[in-house]
Amino acid sequence: MTTGFWHQVRAVAHRDLLRERRSGDVLWVTIPFGALALLLVPLAVGTDAKLLREIGPGMYWVIVMLFGVLVAVGKASKETLPQQDASSLLGLDPAAGYVGRTASSLILLLIFEAVVGAVAVGLYNIDILAPGWLALTLLVVAMGLSLLGTLTASIVNSTSAGTALVPLLVAPLSVPLLLGATQAYEGIRLGHGILSWVLLMIAVVLIVAMIGVLTARPMQES
């Protein structure tokens, strides 16, 4: 398997997506669960249409953060130690493995964001303002979450706590993304510039990507 870096990335991403097609974990479990959570919120806070329209975008981002972690981690944590050893013996570059797993998570997260977003728009009557900026925000958040989720899953892989520890690790670390996403939407709504928030999220994405790629080999060796 000693081929080019990007070929290895494509192979790993393809493998993970095939696994998802067979199991349907994200499409048939996580996405319906996220949509259900959006349905439950009004039962707790009240069904006032004006209130729901106001809190809708924030609720959407919270759901994306909490459930998006499950999407990213679910894919990355399914690799067992013998599988990792086999990949290593075949000459898989650990950094390519990390980028490949992140890429498959990114695709699934974008699907998750789109479906749950449509549900949120329908249930909460949210306005879609500045579609270009919104699409960029969705992409950056999905990238950040997939990078964070994949990295954290590799950290906890084969520990005694397993994936139970992941939400505690990822939720606080994803706060800059949550802040950026919610403030960007608020900025669009109020007609303010949102470039600084988008740049904050991009900076987080770049930092996590750099840490993930640079520490992929020591993580594999551990």
Binding site: T159, L168, A171, P172, L173, V175, M219, S222
Partner: protein, 244 residues
């Protein structure tokens, strides 16, 4: 008294002496015109917050050093520093809540500095939880080091939150481009001495914690070796008249 014993005791002597100095200063320092006696909480709150930053920054640097050198000494420093940082972050939050209850009327507000400090607390609580999930010291060190580097992203966010967002929490009081906001020299001296004292305490605690980690590792090694079979245990002595 042996020299070694004296060296072992220096952390405790340093802690007691520096605490006594800081306590005396905080008591003779004048009360604030607005906050009254409540200002004395600041002499604990500010140094505790400073120490939390220092501790997590040391964890960050030691984690990088471990990833580069694979020397477990760096992992011990990172872990010891994170433990102390978590304690002092908790102390910062509690003291801030006591002060907030009297000043703002509520112990907690959804202020950027407060919220991000609480989040930083949970990040490093996760770091400590992660360390407890792996017995193998090498695997534990590598995993914790990656999280130690990743967690440091929060530190500048917490520190600059009072500058970037309009918050209820006051901006920096001493290190400011236009000079300190505090006018009373004794108050500034007390705060600075508090910061120095807490840094001494941090150093002493890190040293003691690393010593304790050494002992824990030795104990774990003894326990592991007790379970190992003795060399030659599998060899059975043949007995006459019995088939092997």
């Amino acid at each position: 008294m042996k020299v070694q014993t004296r060296i072992r005791r220096w952390p405790w002597v340093a802690i007691v002496l520096s605490l006594a100095v800081a306590f005396a200063l905080s008591m003779i320092s004048p009360k604030d015109d607005v906050q009254g006696e409540l200002v004395r909480i600041m002499y604990l709150h500010v140094p505790a917050a400073w120490l939390a930053y220092v501790a997590f920054f040391i964890t960050f640097v030691s984690s990088i050093a471990y990833l580069l050198t694979k020397n477990l000494r760096w992992d011990r420093i990172a872990a010891a520093s994170a433990e102390i940082g978590v304690f002092f972050t908790g102390l910062t939050l509690v003291l801030g809540m006591i002060w907030g209850k009297s000043t703002w009327g509520v112990p907690w507000t959804w202020d950027a500095r407060l919220t991000l400090t609480a989040i930083m607390f949970f990040v490093y609580l996760g770091y400590l939880a992660l360390r407890r999930t792996t017995d193998d010291p090498i695997a534990r060190a590598s995993r914790a080091a990656v999280l130690g580097v990743l967690g440091a992203v929060q530190i500048p966010l917490v520190h600059f939150s009072v500058v970037w967002w309009r918050t209820l929490h006051q901006p920096p009081s001493i290190i400011r481009p236009d000079g300190p906001a505090i006018q009373e020299p004794l108050m500034i001296v007390t705060l600075v001495v508090g910061v120095v004292v807490f840094t001494v305490i941090y150093g002493a605690l890190v040293v003691k914690r690393i010593e304790l980690m050494h002992l824990e590792e030795q104990l774990a090694e003894i326990e592991r070796s007790a379970d190992r079979p003795v060399a030659g245990e599998a060899v059975v002595v043949p007995e006459l008249g019995k088939k092997p």
